[in-house]
Symmetry: C2
Subunit: 365 residues, 2 copies
Amino acid sequence: MAKRVSEADKQREATDKALKQLGALVYDQINQGEFPWVMMQSRSIDNIQYDPQVRQYILGDRMVKRHSRNIKHIRPFTQLVWTAWFARELVRQRKTSTLREAYYSARGQRDIEYTDQQESDSIITDLEVSLNKAREDFGIFPEERSAIFGDITIEYTVPGYEGRRTNLTDHPDGIMVGPAVTSSEFIETTANKVIVVEKGAMFTRLVEEQAHKKFNAILIHTAGQAPRSTRSIIHRLSKDWGMPVYIFTDGDPWGVHIAQVICSGSANAAHLRGLTAPDAKWIGVWASDIIDYKLPTENLTEFDKKRLTELQDDPRYNEDPWKKQIELFIKIQKKAELEAFSRYGLTYIVDKYLPEKIGAIAPDS
Amino acid sequence: MAKRVSEADKQREATDKALKQLGALVYDQINQGEFPWVMMQSRSIDNIQYDPQVRQYILGDRMVKRHSRNIKHIRPFTQLVWTAWFARELVRQRKTSTLREAYYSARGQRDIEYTDQQESDSIITDLEVSLNKAREDFGIFPEERSAIFGDITIEYTVPGYEGRRTNLTDHPDGIMVGPAVTSSEFIETTANKVIVVEKGAMFTRLVEEQAHKKFNAILIHTAGQAPRSTRSIIHRLSKDWGMPVYIFTDGDPWGVHIAQVICSGSANAAHLRGLTAPDAKWIGVWASDIIDYKLPTENLTEFDKKRLTELQDDPRYNEDPWKKQIELFIKIQKKAELEAFSRYGLTYIVDKYLPEKIGAIAPDS
C-alpha cells in the first residue's frame, strides 16, 4: 500500500499551537485587567452521555468556568496553568513523561501543591478537555504493558529514530507499545485484519503458532484493559487502514468490558476522540462458546454477578452479541478463560476456534 | 567480543534427555514388577536454607519419595508423570506454554485431575526439583511483562527465527522479554554494565535520555518482581559476560526485596541455579537517598513496617547496604518512588542521580 501522509509532526504542531493559545488567552485577560479564567466542558456524570451516532460516550454541552476570581478556583486554575506549561515543555523538547512524573514534577521547585496523584491526574484531564487533546499528545503516557506483532512496517518519529523503519515481525516476543510505537507512522502492511487478545500468554501462543501469517493479521496484546495508546493504534488500523478488528477476551464480565471499551471507549474518555473502534467485533469467549466448546469453567463469583448486572444497565450492552451473551453468562453462572481451550491441545485455539469464530463473522476472510 | 558457544541447543538436548530418563526409570520399575516411584529433594520450609557460599537459598539434603504404592501419593505421582509427558511434548515440538495452559491441558482429554491451578503449579515445581531443571527449560514461561534495551546483538533460536540476529536498540519502546529473548544467544555488545529498574515508566525515561549510551549500559525493566526469565538474563550478563549490575528500585521494602531477589534468588526457587546475580549491587533508592536528595516522600504504612521487620529476620539482609538502609527506613518512617526525582526535572535522574550512585560504587565506570 502507498505511504500515508505523515501525521506525527502535524499533531505536535497542533498541540503546541493549542497550548500557546491557552497561554496567550491568560496573558490577554491579565493585560486587560481581568482575573484570568478558562472555560471547558463539564465532566460531571450528568454531562456524560452515550451517543449512538458517534458510537461512544461524549460530553454534553454544559460548560464550566475556572475563574481565578473565585477563591475556590484559584488552586485548580494555577494547577492547570502549571500543567499546561509542563505539557508545553514536553512537546517542545519532544520528551515523554508519565502521570506519576507529572505529579512529582509539580511538587518540585515550582511548588505547585497537590494533595495526591489523583488530583494531578484530574487536572491533566482538565487540560485534555480544555484543549480537546489527549494527554498522549502532550507526551504524557501510561506505563507500557501492551504489545504488538505482525507484518506491518512502521516509521519511528521519536528523536534519535526519525525516519527509521522497522517491521513488527522482527522480534518474536513482540514489540512493546510505548511512546515510540504510538507516535510512529504506519507505512505498509500485508495484514488485512487485527486480532486483539487481552493476555500476554495468549499473545505468545498466537505468535508461536504464526497466527499473523495464518490469518493475515496484526496481533495486539492489551494486557487487561487496553491502555489508551493501544486503543489509538487499534483505532488507526480500523479507521485509517480499514481493517476489521476481532477481539478475544476471557469469557467473564471483565473480558466483555475490555472488548466494549476497545469498541466504544470509556466514560472517563468521553472528551476524547480517536480512541474507539466501533466496528470492532467482540467474538469470544462467549457464554455460548463455553457450552458449544465444552470448556473447563469456574463458577461466577458474587462480584462477577454484580458486574454483569451493572453491564446490563449500560446502553452499549443493549445489542447482540453483548445482550444475549450477558444473559447467557447469568443463566449458566459460569466463566472461562481463553487458555481453557488448551484442554484440546495448545494449537486448538489457532487451528479451530479462531477460524470458526472469525469465519462465522467474515466468511471470506 | 567473540561469539560464545551456542547454549540453546545443548540445553534443549539435556532437558530432553532428563525427561526421557525419568520416563525410562518409571518403565523399568514397572517392568521389574515394582510400584513406580520418584525421588526428589524435599521442598518443605525446614529443608530450605540460605547458603552463604552459593549466595542464594538452596534445598537441604532431605529427600522425599513419591511412591505409587502409597494411596496418598498416587495422585501427585500421576500428575508428575503427566506433567513430564507434557513438558517432553513442548521440548520435542519446540513450543512454549504457560503455567495456566499446562493446568488447562491437564484438564483436557487425558483427564488428569487438579483441584486448582496452584496444585498444577506445585507439580511443575516438583518436576523442576526431580530433574534439576527450570520450567523455562521445559518451555513453560510466565506471562512476559519485562523488557530490555541496549546495544547488544542477540541471535534468536526459536523456530522460524533461527540464526536471525537483531540489535536490542532497534525499538525505542524496548523489546519484551519472552521465550524468544530468553532462549537467544548473546552475540556481541558494546555495553559494559547493566542497569535494572523495576518500573516501565523509569525504563522509558532511561531510553529517552539515552542512558544506554551515557552509561554504556544494557537497560532492563523488571515490571515489579523480576520474572525468572529476566533474572536468568541478568545472571548471564553478570556471570558469562562479566558485567557489573546496578539495580534501582523504589525506596520502600518492596523495592528492597525486588533487588535482593535479583541478587540472591527466592526461597521458592531454592532448587534452581542460574537465576541469581550475587555480585549485583542494589544502589537505590536508599533511605539515605531520601534524606540526601530531599525527595518527596510518603509515610510508611503499617504493612510496609511489618515487611521491613520481616526483612530484618532474613539472613540476606545482615550486610550493608541492606542492613543499614532498612534500619534507616524504619527510623525515618518514609518511603519514596524512583519517579520522585522528577521534582528536580525529568532528566535529573540520568544527569545526576545515576552517575553519582554508580560512580560511588565504581569510580572508573
